[in-house]
Symmetry: C2
Subunit: 389 residues, 2 copies
């Protein structure tokens, strides 16, 4: 199908969190430098760059981030392109880099993701993030993203008997995973009680059901598989890359309890990779809210529709259980610098497949998956990766 | 080099101008529908979409434009990606679509470009456009884009003796061309006197040296060349696609009188297409200000450095002269809805190569070029197209 196979040969990320000392360009520079060093590259070998970032125009007054990053990484005149698909910007950047290498157009591509979110007041962040939904039909009339996901949660509870405690179990597991990740924004375990007693944001979602506002960046280096061995002892092949779209507005969807774009992208990705959900041992899925992880593990085929909450509460998605979900801590505990998230997911899966995930290592991880969502499900991107060594 | 050749099989655009009746999604829908009809396609055949738009987050509160456009065009669950490179967003979208088809990943891609600029006060437009430059080093300290291009103009005048009248000649020619284009924002010819007597914006640039604020959209359909004949009697092959980056901030550049990113992208494009500047009969170049067209026709190799102003004043870039530059009217007269511009340039060159440009038709147009710039030259994208029939 493609001209050539594509591998990840280097990865890096910044410490996620509230970063008062560094700006947008510093964060991506740190992540990019780590990825390039990890790939044992010199800048001169890189011939293309894709960067995912959602709302730098509104958050820091800066568009044109592709060229900015090429400039600050000292990589001019290399072509550098920003892509944006709300919170799926990073996943779309990865897919863009994948296509550029698979096509034969580029031989060495850096894929970056970044967001600097804490330089503006919280209300402005909420407003900027609202741009991920349908401005005319959802945000202008007053909806916010916690409210939109709360509707999905309520419907899931009604249809399948999912409970608030089961939602809370997602947060507890992800904080436990995050406690083993030095890059995570939150590294302290929490309990079901912590979540249940936290303030309500949009019922049934409470503060600890929500991913945080985060500054951060992640980056990786892509090369044709046949050249990858020169730069990594442990190249990770991207065996599938798929993306799908759905309506921006939740009220136009066929269902509130499944994300159709995820289902479509997952089906394509499994076909492309010639694997089934049961073959995946580690997955980073898009848990912007706890309900989102439950929808994801169902829509990705890991559990039957309606059984995601129960499975999570039973510990079946914990580290080294049936399937290890969000070993990084996910968006919930590792943090959610929106444009960086999709790239960070691939960084984490790369570490897992290489056996470099330290205290949160999944045993015998052979095949990994990343799942990145924009808005409430208007974009979904799924990648599947395999060890190529 | 690539898996397969790529052709344009359909094009369309909205009437450019101040459009008080239609919004962002209406504009792209109109352009997209025209392109799809022109390609004699049904929506079901389309399997990917790329959209260039610069600042919808700041201009209309809407990010996630890729999914929004798939949704409004009725094309879900097709993957749809927004790319952004300031005023080069459209050119980068075209290159992204080109790579997606060349790679074998997509068989039929819609490339769109759109900007809705008149829904906010003028000062907010200026501020949003400022995001194309270096926010920390240029815009925050007070620079605006007319000011940045004025510096380039002053230096060109100093080094090469370019005159204000020669700058004005660019605007006069482009308004003349625009008068034959029913899609142009301005369709009235002007004189050197009109320009010279217009108000100074940033000396030496006056109102008529500047492209306007515009609402508009453009779209085209890409397919593999071997399938193109089924959809068009006159397929236009994209024989080169190149993009380059430079510093965002003008003060970091090696030169104020040439745009390095244009030179790099042009060199690559000419090599890829195996043509020379003298082989190009029609070109749409990035004349956001009159000085920008003079820089472009020099950096693209049509005229020697320093001779662009003189050549323009002598009429050598007029319709059917030595080389026909900006037959659409360019950004100056056709209008500059920033994200749409790079796509509109390809629409115009397609019409020219097909012989469908009516009163502004270039005789025996065989090879055309588009040149799209982001900011003051931090991104440049060059495409070369040929008749494939």
């Amino acid at each position: 199908m493609f001209m050539r196979k594509v591998a990840i040969v280097g990865v890096g990320m910044s410490k996620f969190g509230e970063d008062w000392k560094r700006g947008f360009r510093d964060l991506i520079l740190e992540a990019g430098r780590r990825a390039i060093e990890d790939a044992k590259l010199s800048g001169a070998e890189i011939d293309g760059m894709y960067c995912g970032t959602m709302a730098p125009g509104r958050l820091i007054g800066q568009e044109h981030a592709g060229a900015l990053l090429a400039d600050w990484m000292g990589l001019n005149p290399m072509p550098s392109t920003r892509v944006e698909a709300a919170c799926a910007s990073g996943g779309v950047a990865l897919r863009s880099g994948f296509l550029a290498v698979a096509s034969g157009h580029h031989d060495c591509v850096v894929v970056g993701g970044v967001e600097k979110m804490t330089d503006v007041p919280g209300a402005d962040v909420v407003s900027a993030l609202g741009g991920a939904g349908d401005q005319e039909w959802e945000l202008f009339p007053g909806a916010t993203f916690p409210g939109i996901y709360a509707l999905m949660a309520r419907r899931h509870m009604l249809e399948y008997g999912t409970t608030e405690e089961q939602l809370a179990a997602v947060a507890v597991k992800n904080h436990e995973n995050g406690s083993h990740n030095k890059y995570a924004q939150f590294q302290s375990p929490i309990t079901i009680d912590t979540v249940m007693k936290s303030k309500v944001v949009a019922s049934p979602l409470k503060v600890f059901d929500c991913s945080p506002v985060t500054d951060g960046a992640a980056a990786l280096v892509l090369m044709p598989l046949d050249k990858a061995k020169q730069h990594s002892d442990k190249p990770i092949e991207i065996v599938a890359s798929a993306q799908a779209s759905d309506t921006l507005a939740l009220h136009d969807r066929k269902s509130l309890t499944s994300v159709w774009a995820t289902e479509v992208a997952a089906k394509k990705a499994y076909e492309m990779a010639k694997v089934k959900p049961k073959d995946i041992s580690v997955a980073e899925v898009h848990d912007c809210f706890t309900i989102a992880e439950i929808l994801a593990i169902e829509d990705l085929g890991f559990f039957k529709k309606g059984e995601g909450g129960k499975a999570t509460a039973e510990g079946r998605t914990a580290l080294n259980a049936d399937i290890s979900i969000n070993t990084s801590g996910g968006l919930k505990a590792c943090g959610h610098p929106v444009g960086a998230t999709g790239v960070k997911q691939a960084v984490e899966v790369t570490w897992q497949l290489r056996g470099e995930a330290n205290g949160r290592q999944v045993k015998e991880a052979e095949v990994g998956l990343t799942h990145n969502v924009g808005g409430s499900g208007a974009t979904a991107v799924v990648h599947i990766m395999k060890r190529a060594y």
